[in-house]
Symmetry: C2
Subunit: 427 residues, 2 copies
């Protein structure tokens, strides 16, 4: 049976609302207290399957002469190409099936290889080669454009023709759970006589998904959209933290830089493109029709429900401040990647392609606090009282998401980060 088959069950207990049924099998990187060497794992229910141990036991297909699981990222797995990846996922699925005794009935191996997720530490799963962020939700671009440049210049002349994107900073992509230090920077309000340097006062989130590129290309190679779709290994939750005050003062004419360079948080689990195939849907109608190199003759959007929770340090409960969906993207990730290669730009295994903020059509579905509070003018109400326009120190923001199947969910875990105070030097 195909690993996506809805009828599959595992001998590992999986709650109906778990993100990680046997149909998912997302890849992550773990360490444990008894083995500090990072290695690749898949999530199954409330457990992880340690693929380093499974590889040692000779139970996984050998896709490469070198180890691909006893490594500190999933890059080695990705480098072995779609054939190897598909083979591995099928084998893992088989090993976890309710009716397969190989792992289920091997007491020692079972105990060693299947570890409760609470007993592992999740590392950044991808050795991030490059990080590119796009700007491809029409609603988000219209909202931000209206606030930054006025209603008449909201959506630029090029926006409906190009998946607008820019290079981000790969060195500061961190895994879920990593604290985020409030950035400092130059800011200047419209009425200020001169800029000042200090902690950002408009610290924001961006609800995104990131596509993980699993294929290397050479300089000069241009992908069409079908090849781009095939070159995406999987997806993860992604929060592109943004200091709006720094960004606003710096971004003309060369784009965002320090306003976004301080941190971006990715989820600990990369859900394979294969596991998401059942959830492909048409995106918004593209009018004008894209140029030939951006045309897609199949759906490349995904129906993935997304939510953002904000929890102040003092709160006992978080507030869901946004519920959106990945399907709202005007430009698909495959179109973004095709455009990325259109100049002949070489892609690397481990490149992250941020979707850009995913805002839906109505206010409760906006993917940034800038939009949710409409530039700080309409504070967001919290469930335990109090409000937010932008983030305060101690706040924790958690992104979650899943695609709903028939009786199971393909979920992403979470991408979470707590805001730490700025490191202000006393002079």
């Amino acid at each position: 049976m195909h690993p996506n088959d809805p009828s599959l069950r595992s001998f590992v207990d999986v709650a109906p609302d778990s993100d990680f049924p046997i149909q998912n099998l997302p890849y992550g990187v773990i360490v444990t207290s008894d083995d500090r060497r990072p290695r690749v794992a898949v999530a199954i229910g409330d457990h992880v399957l340690d693929l380093g141990i499974m590889e040692d036991a000779g139970l996984l297909p050998k896709v490469s002469a070198k180890p691909v699981f006893r490594t500190p990222s999933i890059n080695a797995l990705m480098e072995n190409g779609a054939y190897g990846i598909g083979t591995v996922r099928r084998k893992i699925s088989e090993l976890l099936r309710h009716d397969n005794p190989v792992l289920r009935d091997n007491g020692v191996l079972h105990k060693r290889a299947l570890v409760p997720v609470r007993n592992v530490k999740l590392r950044r799963p991808v050795d991030v080669a490059g990080y590119t962020d796009f700007y491809s939700s029409r609603e988000h671009a219209t909202n931000v454009g209206t606030m930054f440049r006025g209603k008449d210049n909201a959506l630029g002349e090029n926006w409906l023709h190009i998946p607008i994107g820019y290079n981000g900073r790969a060195s500061t992509v961190v895994v879920s759970g990593t604290p985020v230090i409030r950035p400092q920077g130059q800011v200047k309000g419209p009425g200020d006589p001169a800029p000042v340097f200090g902690p950002s006062r408009r610290l924001d989130i961006e609800l995104e998904m990131a596509a993980v590129v699993g294929r290397k290309t050479e300089l000069g190679h241009i992908m069409d959209v079908a090849e781009a779709q095939y070159s995406i290994f999987g997806f993860t939750l992604f929060n592109d933290w943004s200091a709006r005050d720094i960004q606003q003062w710096e971004y003309v004419p060369l784009g965002p830089f320090q306003g976004k360079a301080f941190a971006s948080t990715m989820g600990a689990w990369v859900v394979t493109n294969e596991a998401l195939t059942p959830f492909l849907v048409e995106g918004p109608k593209q009018d004008p029709a894209p140029l030939a190199y951006l045309r897609q003759d199949k759906p490349h959007n995904y129906d993935i429900r997304l939510e953002v929770e904000l929890k102040p340090a003092s709160a006992t409960r978080g507030t869901i401040i946004s519920v959106s969906n990945f399907k709202h993207m005007y430009w698909s990730s495959a179109q973004q990647l095709a455009h990325h290669t259109s100049s002949g730009c070489a892609m690397s295994v481990g490149d992250l392609i941020g979707s850009g903020t995913i805002s839906g059509p109505d206010k409760g579905s906006y993917g940034s606090m800038l939009e949710l509070s409409w530039g700080g003018k309409e504070p967001i109400e919290l469930v335990e009282g109090g409000t937010r326009t932008f983030l305060e120190d101690g706040d924790t923001v958690t992104l979650r998401g899943y695609a709903q199947g028939a009786g199971y969910r393909i979920g992403f875990g979470e991408a979470s980060g707590q805001i730490m105070p700025a490191k202000v030097k006393s002079k």
Copy 2:
């Protein structure tokens, strides 16, 4: 004696106008026909000293438990910090002195380790972690701003306060000598009804220097300018090829992307910051005074003469189309790097910090063809007849540069690339 001492001489012949006297000792990475394993070398006159062989012979200080020279980049050397780097340069200088018999009189070693540069192939010397490009020549920013946005908006409100920069694409930084494929992309002229996709018709160069970052920092660490200066391992020539037509249509609001993603050419030799110390000079006066985090109390500009040669495929001689100087930069590389960390952005060993196009005050010193031909309106005359506004297929562009000492030059070799036709698919 200090390795920079002007009186030093080597037993290796060095012509007076050579880029590579014993006072220089720039690092590169070589392979040879009899040994395809890349390793680190220094240039001396028309030869290179193979540091892999010197390391094997036990003649270099051991700065690390792992090999630092039998590696495919200079990153391992840089990771060993300023102490290790200084020790190594002193030792190499000693070994190459005219009065030191150790290498000079060891016939076998001499022959093996000192290889004519024509017998080696130079590889990209740096494993490029991230690539950031700045926009820090006031003349260049004013010229381009005038052409793209009109005279009144030429220099943005933020330009005199922030070293404006953006993230570039690290995967397409190539070493001197690598052919550059003419990029394709979306372009739309002001009068065109819709964009079209095709080969760029305004392919340009940018005369730059790139600083190579030699120290890793953690998230949240902010460098002051003095620390930034100390964190720069060295400099190399840098050509940030630019497709102006693609750039113009794509760059609002998030900055350059595919217009620059197809290739950037770095020199094969990285000249150490230490070797350049004698050539530190004051930059242009900064008014208004920079904010405290950007203040420098010492000169951080360098007096490095730079030139650009353009040679059509059919020509026997190239034309020097620009003579500029690195000293013209308004913002120093140290200020750029300090600003880069101002948000807490983590830096990596092997990050490249492009200076931005280095234009001098007069027309013969502009660092791009966009400026030299004033947007294509004033064609550049070539010495053998003919003109250029932008680059044609077959053209070779070569950057060169050196600092002039008393009786010697600290030179950079060259950063060269020939334009290949676009790879247009027939459909």
